[in-house]
Amino acid sequence: MVEEQRRKKMALVLCSGELDKALACMNIAVGGASMGMEVIVFATFFGLNAFRRDGVAPAPAAGEEPRRVGLFGARFIRRVFAYLNPGGGGRLNPSRFSFGGLGRRLMAYLMRDSRMAHLDELIPLGAKLGVRYIACTTSLEALGIPRTNLRPEVTTFAGVATFLADALESDVQLFI
């Protein structure tokens, strides 16, 4: 009897910051949650961009900045990087035919034409279905992304042990 079985679980890692990979990840996550699975999405490195608010991350306020070694120029490099690496699902470029930013707009246009859900719909939909989004704290610090720059659906901030404990209990584990 299906009812008597343990609830199936799936652990996804989104490491890539490309539109097609993020869409694939969210399609699988929403699909799994729709099938009654317990789903976690662990976002790390450029995979975090899909779960960020639109645009350039603000510089952390005074006192909000985590402990730093204070290497020469690091603060400046982080600011430049923030401008080069804006967040938001709508800012992700496809892995092919990027055309310097035109590609993602063409993709969004075609997706709209075929009524395919974009990330800004899939992420809240997943949350509604119980998908748990986990942001990697190490990547957030290294890339200089403040927590306040993440979408409200991201509720957990954790590291590799949290992911692995979930992955061990999961029936499906995917690294995207």
């Binding site: 704290t137 042990a161 949290t162 979930d166």
Partner: protein, 75 residues
């Protein structure tokens, strides 16, 4: 009083759990170690790590500058 203290302040995942595992292997079964860390990820990571490894999470206190975690070696 913990048998050993591991200072991971300023270090990020996965270093705190790696150093904790190393330190725990050096104490006897039943003894405790103390881990000091300020990576926000440890709040979720140490309970998960203990759940998987079977060691006991004795306490986790949040201080202004991070966390103080006490773990007992169980096997």
């Amino acid at each position: 009083m913990a048998e050993k203290t591991v200072d991971c302040v300023g270090l990020y995942c996965p270093v705190p759990i790696a150093q904790a595992a190393e330190a725990l292997a050096e104490v006897a079964v039943g003894e405790t170690i103390e881990v000091l860390a300020d990576d926000p990820g440890v709040e979720s990571d140490f309970p998960s790590w203990c759940r998987v490894t079977g060691h006991e999470l004795v306490s986790m206190e949040r201080a202004a500058d991070g966390f103080r975690i006490v773990i007992r070696r169980k096997k």
